[in-house]
């Protein structure tokens, strides 16, 4: 449709536009102008991403819209960005949530508006950068660059315990990052000492040959960093605090995109770079994934804070993603990618809706609410849609992702079971129980929240006993527009998953091949290693 160089330029524009806009905020004065400008930038970015998404060729297994320029030549570091099957859906998700986050904060954020939107734009830049980076050094820089805007977003515009929550978030994440940095230096150095290539390009790193021992240590270091971000049980304790204290926009970014960085890290780096170690640790990872599914769901069941319910449900839902990735079944992998997108939409949407009610009633206590369906019909309809999508009702995006993951888990577990391995099957069965638990906590939540006797916390300045309708108003046009867009995306992914799945298919195959081909140093002839990692060989 367009010339490849134009599209590569468009990808660069997608990446740098938010940063340029952030600098432009310095000269914009009025708060309203800042809000609308930020929204315009996000919409422009979404438009560009839409063009790229439509131009993305599902039959091309390589990198598309690629830009590759030497950045630090002596170290083999390149400014190397491109779309591929791994990241195309996630970039689309990030760009899609961008305008919603900005618009969602229009009325919620009134303090330091300029700094707020600057940080939202900065984190958008860093998130897109993390996804499109095809060079480990660049990936790391973007990965870390996400930290500071989020630190400020939670710390400045958050709730009462925001300082505690934001420091916890940063210190957890940074702990993982430091180990990842050490592992990254070691990885690149050992690539150099075995092959003589100094490179951070993923395509080159996929060809590294390391002993099983080294692979295991490196996977542990990278994995810890990703596991904290996902978050996998037992590294999840920062998440509820961060989510509860974060402002709505922060929660949406966190749940919508930031958590996917962890699973994307496993998908793009952790598992394919260290296949032998992955095979070794697969049972443990599987157990942790299912543990997250069940434990997260159980915790969600007993929460009294509505934000915490969704926060713990995130832990549960991302457990499915991990299960799909480690199943190494094609459907499971594709399901995992789709589940990432779906969770981004659903959890992001739920946090937006919680933000909308919080703006009206100023409490997150579930017990304070009841029967909202009677007084807020429009709100309740959208909330029900998101609830059902979260449960994974067919025709919604949640169904496609979860179903494919479970299908993949069983497909991988059955042959193993026939060979006498019980664990994968047991885990797959355990994961199914998570679906039931998911239905339990979400439906119970919706029932207490939307139905039953009408109970609304009195907003400040209103007399108790006044008519409910005068206390809280239903959604306004801006809020409706946000939710219509979200619902449309959720149904689109639920009804027509074939199209996005096709875009990820070749990447999923690549991943499957990379992870299931042993590459431990002494056992492997170089020719085979080339075949395993050589799809993108230059």
């Amino acid at each position: 449709m367009f010339d490849p160089t134009v599209l590569a330029g468009a990808l660069n524009l997608v990446l740098w536009l938010p940063l340029a806009a952030m600098l432009a905020l310095l000269v914009i004065d009025r708060d309203d102008a800042i809000r609308h400008f930020s929204l315009g930038v996000m919409l422009a970015q979404l438009l560009l991403v839409a063009v790229l998404y439509l131009s993305f060729d599902a039959r091309d297994p390589g990198l598309q819209f690629e830009t590759r320029v030497p950045w630090i030549p002596a170290w083999g570091v390149h400014y190397h960005i491109a779309l591929d099957g791994y990241n195309v859906l996630l970039v689309a998700l990030t760009a899609f949530l961008g305008p919603l986050v900005v618009a969602g904060a229009f009325s919620a954020v009134t303090k330091d508006v300029r700094l707020f939107y600057a940080m939202v734009l900065l984190i958008q830049f860093a998130m897109i950068g993390t996804f499109v980076a095809q060079d480990l050094f660049l990936f790391y820089i973007f990965w870390e660059a996400m930290l500071i805007p989020m630190f400020l977003i939670i710390g400045i515009w958050g709730g009462e315990r925001r300082i505690y929550a934001t420091l916890k978030f940063v210190l957890y994440t940074a702990a993982g990052s430091i180990l990842m940095l050490a592992a990254m230096i070691y990885l690149v150095w050992s690539l150099y000492s075995t092959t003589g290539i100094t490179s951070f390009a993923f395509a080159d790193l996929y060809r590294s040959q390391l002993t099983l021992e080294v692979q295991t240590i490196l996977l542990a270091a990278f994995g810890l960093s990703f596991a904290i971000k996902v978050p996998m049980v037992p590294f999840h304790t920062w998440l509820p605090d961060a989510h509860v204290e974060a402002p709505t926009a922060g929660s949406v970014i966190l749940a919508g995109v930031l958590l996917k960085m962890g699973t994307y890290g496993f998908l793009k780096i952790g598992f394919p770079l260290f296949p032998d170690a992955t095979a070794l640790l697969a049972p443990a990872i599987m157990v942790l994934a299912v543990l997250a599914i069940i434990y997260g769901a159980c915790l969600a069941l007993v929460q009294t804070d509505i934000k915490k319910i969704v926060a713990y449900s995130s832990i549960s839902h991302l457990g499915y993603v991990m299960l799909g990735l480690i199943s190494l079944d094609l459907l499971g992998i594709q399901g995992a990618i789709l589940q990432m997108v779906s969770h981004g939409l659903v959890a992001g949407g739920l946090f937006l809706m919680i933000g909308m009610i919080y703006e009206r009633c100023h409490t997150r206590e579930l017990a304070a609410y009841g029967g909202l369906a009677k007084i807020l019909p429009v709100y309740s309809v959208f909330f029900a849609i998101l609830t059902l999508a979260s449960i994974g009702l067919p025709t919604t995006s949640g169904f496609t992702g979860e179903f494919l993951v479970l299908l993949g888990a069983f497909a991988a577990a059955w042959p193993a079971y026939q060979q006498g391995e019980v664990l994968p099957l047991a885990m797959a069965v355990g994961a199914v129980s998570g679906v039931v638990l998911g239905a339990m906590y979400m439906l119970w939540f919706a029932q207490r929240f939307l139905f039953g006797a009408v109970r609304v916390p009195q907003a400040h300045g209103h007399e108790p006993g006044g008519s409910h309708a005068s206390v809280i108003a239903d959604l306004n046009g801006r809020e409706r527009a946000i939710l219509v867009a979200l619902a449309a995306a959720i149904f689109w992914l639920g009804l027509f998953p074939a199209e996005p799945l096709r875009k990820t298919e070749l990447a999923a195959q690549q991943y499957q091949q990379l992870v299931s081909t042993p590459r431990a140093a002494p056992a492997q002839a170089p020719a085979q290693a080339m075949a395993a990692g050589g799809e993108e060989a230059r």
């Binding site: 002596a74 330091d112 820089i141 870390e144 050490a182 690149v188």
Partner: protein, 467 residues
């Protein structure tokens, strides 16, 4: 000795000397005015001269065996002199009529330049003393606080101890090698730990004392005790100078001292243990500080640790790693000091507490301070990260995988207190009504901010020139 070589090869030093003379004449024949700006002009001229020497690739030895210039020395001088510019700008108001400030500062810089060109122990010692002696006075200068004198005295005594240690080391090395040339040091490194022979013993003792003296000057644990007091006692521009350029000068002189030789296996323990202890202790102690300058002092103790760890890397990459690290570290520190709000009472403005709500009072200052802290913490994409990466990848490539990992883990300890400054500046409610950052400070901040931004986008530009 060729006079034309003396004239050209020592041009940066001549510029500084000319500055000293002009400043003195100004005080004698008129009224001392705008001293820091005058000094700034000479510092910039000296930096340009050094840059010219670097660009021309001049290699000359105006005083054979004592003083020589080569591109590496020239680029080191150019960087250090250029980094002195923000210090002068910061001092513009406080030291406007203080001839001693300008003269002492230029003399101290002269000492740094001398060290970086030293070819013999004598020149090295002379440079080190010329750098340090004015500092003892600078710490006291224009300072009305009671503990300023204590700080200066402490610094003087510790500095004296360092000088004697260094002299003792030099004598032992002279005994071992029979030479006072700088090359005697790498030659003696080969004999380090050889306790079987008399020369081996002398070399071992000499090198140990030498390194102890360097650790003292750079404030590495356990020789760090003077730094927090001296930093807290001095005025802001002097602290900024001490914590950055002096440290960079000592480290770059140490690189020149080690020349092309790797750290011998027996010495590795010393070069690993103390810098690692420095990183850990510096980062931990900084958490507890209530004074901004004391915090920066402990942070600089930690950074001295990183810088010395760089010596474990391959000799070929050592200068690049140390120089790049020193530049990014100095830029961040200078940026922080320039962005610091000035209150009427110096003691009050030094409390980290007084930074609460800084963003509301002075958004620009808060942003600069935040960037500086992030760079010091080594968080990407700020240049401090690239520097840390360079140091640790060199260390790892030299086979010290565990050391590099421990160093990185220890650097994690430092994240908290840097973030705490950001937390105060952005998330706290303002308690004091402080004036916004003033003009010269903004100029100084911009002067640091620009290179920080450039290094963030194009680190290769500087890295390539240092290789």
């Amino acid at each position: 000795m060729n006079w034309s070589t003396v004239a050209t090869a020592m041009l940066p030093e001549h510029m500084l000397l000319a500055g000293v003379v002009v400043l003195m004449l100004q005080a004698i024949f008129g009224r001392a005015r705008a001293v820091p700006m005058l000094a700034l002009a000479f510092v910039l001229a000296a930096a340009l001269a050094a840059l010219w020497l670097y660009a021309e690739g001049v290699r000359a030895a105006p005083f054979a065996g004592q003083f020589s210039i080569d591109p590496q020395a020239a680029v080191a001088k150019a960087l250090i002199l250029a980094l002195a510019a923000p210090v002068m700008l910061m001092a513009r108001e406080q030291f406007a009529d203080s001839t001693p400030f300008g003269v002492l500062m230029l003399s101290s810089l002269y000492g740094v330049c001398l060290m970086l060109s030293a070819d013999s122990f004598l020149t090295l010692f002379m440079g080190l003393e010329l750098m340090s002696l004015p500092l003892y006075a600078l710490v006291l200068l224009a300072y009305r606080r009671a503990d300023g004198a204590e700080a200066a005295l402490k610094y003087l005594i510790m500095g004296g101890a360092a000088s004697t240690t260094l002299l003792m080391g030099m004598s032992l090395l002279f005994g071992a090698t029979g030479s006072l040339a700088l090359s005697a040091f790498p030659a003696a490194l080969g004999q380090f730990g050889d306790t079987g022979s008399a020369t081996g013993m002398l070399a071992t003792g000499g090198i140990t004392l030498f390194i102890a003296a360097l650790f003292l000057k750079a404030a590495v644990v356990p020789f760090h005790g003077w730094a927090p007091d001296a930093y807290e006692g001095a005025s802001v521009p002097v602290t900024a100078y001490m914590s950055t350029l002096v440290k960079a000068g000592v480290l770059l002189a140490a690189v020149r001292l080690f020349a092309d030789s790797a750290v011998p296996a027996l010495l590795v323990g010393l070069i690993v243990a103390l810098p690692l202890a420095s990183i850990v202790w510096g980062n931990l102690a900084a958490i507890r500080q209530a004074s901004f300058r004391r915090m920066i002092a402990y942070s600089s103790i930690a950074h001295a640790g990183y810088l010395f760890l760089a010596f474990l890397g391959a000799p070929a990459g050592r200068f690049q790693a140390v120089a790049f690290y020193a530049v990014t570290y100095a830029l961040a520190n200078l940026l922080a000091f320039a962005a610091l709000p000035r209150l009427a009472a110096e003691a009050a403005s030094d409390r980290i507490d007084s930074l609460r709500g800084l963003y509301a009072r002075s958004p620009f200052g808060a942003l600069m301070l935040g960037l500086a802290m992030l760079s010091l913490a080594g968080i990407p994409p700020l240049p401090g990260f690239v520097a840390k990466f360079l140091v640790f990848s060199n260390v790892m490539a030299a086979g010290h995988v565990l050391v590099a990992t421990l160093g990185l883990v220890a650097s994690y300890l430092g994240i908290y207190f840097y973030l705490r400054v950001i937390q105060y500046a952005f998330m706290g409610a303002s308690e004091t009504v402080a004036p916004a950052v003033r003009g010269p400070a903004i100029a100084a901040a911009v002067l640091c901010l620009l290179p920080v931004a450039l290094l963030m986008l194009f680190p290769a530009a500087l890295l390539g020139r240092l290789a």
